[in-house]
Symmetry: C2
Subunit: 389 residues, 2 copies
Amino acid sequence: MAGYSFDMENYMTRESFTKIKEFASTKETPFLVTSLGVVARKYDELKESMPYANVYYAIKANPSVEVLKLLAARGSCFDIASVYELDLVLSLGIPPGRLSFGNTIKKACDIRYAYEKGVRFFATDAESDVRKLAKNAPGSDVFFRILTDGLGADWPLSRKFGARPGVIFQNILLARELGLNPRGVSFHVGSQQHDVTQWRGALATCRELFDAAGKKGITLDLVNMGGGFPAHYLSSVEETPVYAEAVTGYLREFFDSDFPRIIVEPGRYMVGDAGILVTEVVMISNKEGEGGVSWLYLDVGKFSGLIETLDESIKYPIYSEQTGDVRDYVIAGPTCDSLDILYEKTSCRLPSNLEEGDRLYFLTTGAYTQTYSSIFFNGFPPLKSYVIA
Amino acid sequence: MAGYSFDMENYMTRESFTKIKEFASTKETPFLVTSLGVVARKYDELKESMPYANVYYAIKANPSVEVLKLLAARGSCFDIASVYELDLVLSLGIPPGRLSFGNTIKKACDIRYAYEKGVRFFATDAESDVRKLAKNAPGSDVFFRILTDGLGADWPLSRKFGARPGVIFQNILLARELGLNPRGVSFHVGSQQHDVTQWRGALATCRELFDAAGKKGITLDLVNMGGGFPAHYLSSVEETPVYAEAVTGYLREFFDSDFPRIIVEPGRYMVGDAGILVTEVVMISNKEGEGGVSWLYLDVGKFSGLIETLDESIKYPIYSEQTGDVRDYVIAGPTCDSLDILYEKTSCRLPSNLEEGDRLYFLTTGAYTQTYSSIFFNGFPPLKSYVIA
């Protein structure tokens, strides 16, 4: 079972793939299949590698009800990005005490709504948000997000979240003054982070803020390390224990054996590897005549789930069951939008004998795919989603 | 009624804005309001400027039922991108004879479905598609899309659509051989095209293909000029009559007074100016301390309708009712995705005294907004859409 430009066995066993393929065989493409077994394995692997960490699954990565139920049953907490995600988890009977409202951008009415539903744990990074929290979620636990540069991440961060440590320190003082409970500091090194040393610089800043707050009589006891642990896309990444060991080492360096409460917010890590997106070849075209590159048009594209191919940032392994010679293709989606090209600069070597109607399997598509689907772009419906055991 | 970085009167009258604002005042943000009066005016202006042209509205730009009904009543034809758009127009009683299946990327089953519903007019650009059309839509009229470079367009084209003239010529011969009816040539100069001379090069190629086909006994009598006429975003554009006069001049240059049947497929042109997106300021933050740039977070972003801000390509005029001094803001959406920034390099000068809860009005948002909305990204629902007279 040789893959193209990659080895299928690095991603899943023959048994797993066969099971998914059989499930998929009766369904009309395109669709996503999420495998609960993989999610469970990823959760367990993380808890084993970092037993001291509290896991808050970042729901936005894949909010399938079955995934949320599985993680809830295993003891996971949840990071919510909006009141809509709040409603979703509450509807599953997950108690509000297991939730963190991790989005720093919040309307006053949404803070109030979350507070009324029992949420007492909020991220913040701005003075105005601290004031809104004090008024609408009085006495709540808050943590403060610092700005990181996101270097080394495939899906980079920007300056959108967090603030400089000096600004954060003022917000910590303000929060106490306004009756909130400043608990700690959070950061995010960038999604799909390849460079584990990125955690070190952020933890050093946490330590400094802990010390500075201590001098003002504020005891911080929580570090929220966000996400960043990678899923297995085309480029190779270190395995979870390697990341965990390095991060644990940095924690020891800055906090000795007296770890604060540690939170991690895996999203991509938890569900990325669990998804397979099944698509069909709609058209193959050689538009430049003999010797030109071939274009492979699929029934899924940037606007029906694969938005993370923007700038070809995330490189999904693409599997075909055809065998034989391979050649380069440009791969594009089915809409009339010229931006709806998945890979043009990235070399996509797939079988020369691919035919229209053949299926392709995009591996590692469990995170940040289905929920990004456009509602009706070019009339196409959102990507269908199935969850299997 | 002074705008910021632009003059509101260039976009709409005080009466129009007041009417939309009043309608909007009772609705919860974010949402899009599309004004039918503007769509009607744009349609009429186009017909007046190019009385010889057959208008096929590109439904994908804004598929609101009210917009489709208005245009159908005025005699417009429609360009569909998928069988889903086909179902939509047929459900409104629009006859299939008024439709063009303009997407060159089609499954065999979708061609068959359209044919069974009465569609007899298809775009194509690839040998395999010609063969599928011959089999599933026998005897249909087809037109052949040539590759253009898209220079001068704000939302650029790519090599995704069309083929080189030599490849197209072979496809024209093949189509006739397989019993299809080769009618003509199509091109698209790129959406929001600033450079009217782009039409000239494409029309020259059409003329060459007409001549080459004629030598093989195939009479082509149709040129589909696609879209490209601009909407009024922040950068100024020529008015419709200026575009129309230039294009008409090029047609005379290549076809003398014996114009072929001319089709235009306006999408952005027809509905762009008709839309106002109403949003609310969620948070204002100065994350770098004194002297740093201010971040303005809105309740709408890249994934809830404003995807065309990617690479800051489309610059929407943003209107505030506050008056007084202005300053620069970075503008971002409400999701936890770091890519969800609307304008960071573009200078967005808005009132210094903006407050959380204030409304902002994104003008010229009638095209390519609502249908791009993500279904559930970060839990946020798709952008609401209203249509007024």
